[in-house]
């Protein structure tokens, strides 16, 4: 579905991605983990086609060969931060329909937006401006917009940021459901335990390189020490692995 082949990227002189290869198929749910500054956000922006990079392929075609409109129908990206503004929640989510619409939204576009708002449980906020809602609510608006895009691939950068515990679980469940429904979900995560509980595949990054990649078996106490420089113990609660820092 989407693939990075020995992906390198620099901001000016500074090399941030040093040759990353990763192939993600349809319906996978991948969590990208790693310390601050590892290059996770940069990697996601390259995959999303927001940064121009060599070596990213979508359905075996270089991402840079896609037109913006074509790309926006396949791929939706939820950035780490969204600026609040004077646009209403509804109109913000409606932007997710831009890849499909002409000058005015169709009835179907409005329905898809309603549906996305309901899925995130924010339909009551529809006519509020995004500068009148909380940070967590804004994060959900951003996710709803990505859903309204009806993409095949969903790229999310720390989507559980700013969310309370219940909303975190809701968003993770939603992502899992989407993956079961055949969408590809790639998510940068800070909360390791939340990632372990919901995602199916884990990619560990550090210093612009991929350190480990695989399902639960790749986890080891040594890996955490190497990636985060922290000693941990991996236990298990109700069949779900739990990482406890020592």
């Amino acid at each position: 579905m989407i693939e990075a082949r020995n992906l390198r990227f620099s901001y000016g002189e500074r090399e941030v991605l040093r040759g990353i290869s990763l192939e993600v198929g349809k319906g996978e749910f991948v969590a990208i983990l790693g310390p601050n500054g590892a290059g996770k956000s940069t990697f996601l922006r390259c995959l999303a086609g927001i940064l121009r990079c060599e070596g990213v392929f979508l359905k075996d075609r270089p991402v840079r060969d896609y037109s913006p409109r074509e790309l926006s129908r396949i791929l939706a990206y939820v950035p780490q931060r969204v600026e609040p503004g004077f646009l209403t929640v509804f109109d913000t989510v409606l932007l997710g329909r831009r890849p499909y619409m002409g000058l005015t939204p169709s009835e179907k576009d409005l329905e898809v937006v309603e549906e996305a708002l309901k899925r995130l449980g924010i339909e009551k906020l529809a006519l509020k401006r995004t500068n009148e809602i909380s940070g967590g609510e804004l994060q959900k608006v951003s996710i709803a917009r990505a859903l309204a895009q009806e993409p095949e691939i969903l790229l999310m950068d720390e989507p559980t940021n700013n969310l309370d515990l219940k909303s975190q679980l809701e968003v993770m469940r939603l992502a899992r459901e989407l993956a079961k429904g055949g969408k590809t979900v790639i998510m940068v995560m800070h909360d390791v335990n939340l990632a372990l509980r919901f995602a199916k595949r884990f990619v560990f990054m550090k210093g612009g390189r991929k350190i480990a990649d695989g399902s639960l078996e790749v986890l080891s106490e040594k890996l955490f020490e190497e990636v985060y420089g922290v000693r941990v113990e991996i236990g298990e609660v109700r069949g779900v692995p739990v990482v406890v820092p020592l």
Binding site: R45, A48, G49, I50, P68, R69, L71, S72, R73, L75, A76, Y77, P79, V82, E83, P84, G85, F86, L87, T88, F90, D91, T92, L95, G96, R98, P99, M101, L103, L110, A126, L127, R129, N131, E132, S142, R145, A146, Q149
Partner: protein, 344 residues
């Protein structure tokens, strides 16, 4: 209230503004040292009326009001668009160096012999087209230099604003230099030119401004979704398929273009590009589908009203309309700023 009712409310606001604009325009047509009753005004507009009435209304007052509408609408739209693409509430076409560039161009034309002025406040332009052309070229060149400079940093909003500040400062210095070498009569012509004055526009100028405005207005209406996307940040804009760098370049250029046209003809009139879009944002929200037409209407209404005040307040003398907009503009803008901060 559902989404459709919410959209309908904005349409009603549009219609209300349009009717107010009509009412103010009719009032302005009828008022002045030479009073024309409303009946006669309507008669003239419908092609009748006395010869004198026709002369005053169609020859003097109407072109001035139409100029007010076109200049106000241009500034309102240009301000709204720049604030969206630069994601900066202080952005106006003047951020893009238009006013300083035009001032430099006009001053240069005057010192090269295009005009002079006596104390009466009348500018005698030997060659009015040279002043207009130089002012336009000065304005648009400032914008082009700013965009070229900002390209060095990927045309980011911050880069454009910084380059704008730098170039405005440079063009001010150049203007001062030109003024230093001007004689008294030329100097006063430069100063009088800098007071925006809608009386400078005749039907021919109005026709040019109308064509420029119609083209740019239509373009922005088509790009309304891209403008909405831009306010959410470049990453989201790209993610929904907007070629944001290209649209920012075209958008800033076209905004500067219509403003340069109006500034070249009527001089610099401040604050309309700030007050019109911001007041509409506070009342009707940031959706560019309605913000573009609303800003145009609000800008037109504001400028025609201000010009009517400028004509009547110390009648039979006429104040420069730029003085009125600045007087109204400064406090109104501070009020808007305070209200806006309260919303965060």
């Amino acid at each position: 209230m559902d989404y459709k009712a919410y959209r309908r409310r904005k349409l009603i606001l549009c219609i209300a503004l349009f009717l107010s604009l009509l009412a103010v325009s009719l009032f302005s047509l009828s008022s002045g040292p030479y009073h024309v009753p409303l009946r006669e005004v309507l008669a003239v507009l419908l092609g009748g009326g006395s010869k004198d009435d026709r002369l005053v209304l169609l020859g003097i007052r109407l072109p001035r009001i139409v100029a007010g509408i076109l200049v106000g609408a241009s500034m309102g739209v240009a301000g709204a668009v720049l604030q969206g693409y630069l994601r900066n509430p202080l952005a106006t076409p003047f951020t893009m160096g238009v006013s300083h560039g035009a001032m430099f161009g006009a001053s240069l034309a005057i010192i090269l012999g295009a005009g002079y002025s006596l104390n009466s406040g009348q500018i005698f332009l030997n060659n009015p087209y040279a002043v207009v052309l130089f002012a336009f070229l000065g304005a648009i060149s400032a914008t082009l230099v700013i965009l070229a400079l900002a390209r060095l940093r990927g045309l980011s909003p911050e880069a454009i604003v910084l380059a704008g500040v730098a170039m405005s400062s440079l063009y001010s210095a150049l203007t001062t230099l030109v003024q230093y070498f001007a004689n008294e009569l030329q100097l006063s012509a430069m100063v009088y030119w800098s007071f925006g004055n809608l009386a400078r526009a005749t039907w021919r100028e109005n026709a040019i401004m109308a064509v420029a405005f119609a083209f740019v207005f239509a373009y922005f209406l088509i790009k309304r979704w891209d403008l909405n996307a831009s306010t959410l940040g470049d990453e989201i804009a790209k993610s929904v398929g907007v070629n944001i760098e290209r649209e920012r370049l075209i958008g800033t250029l076209l905004s500067a273009f219509i403003t340069s046209v109006t500034v070249a003809f009527v001089g610099v009139i401040g604050f309309v590009g700030l007050i019109a879009p911001h007041s509409m944002r506070l009342i009707a929200g940031g959706d560019y589908r309605s913000l573009i037409p609303l800003s145009a209407l609000a800008g037109a209404l504001l400028l025609v009203s201000a010009d009517t005040v400028a004509r009547l307040i110390v009648s039979p003398m006429t104040l420069p309309v730029g003085v009125i907009t600045s007087f109204l503009g400064a406090p109104a803008f501070i009020y808007l700023l305070v209200r806006m901060e309260g919303r965060r």
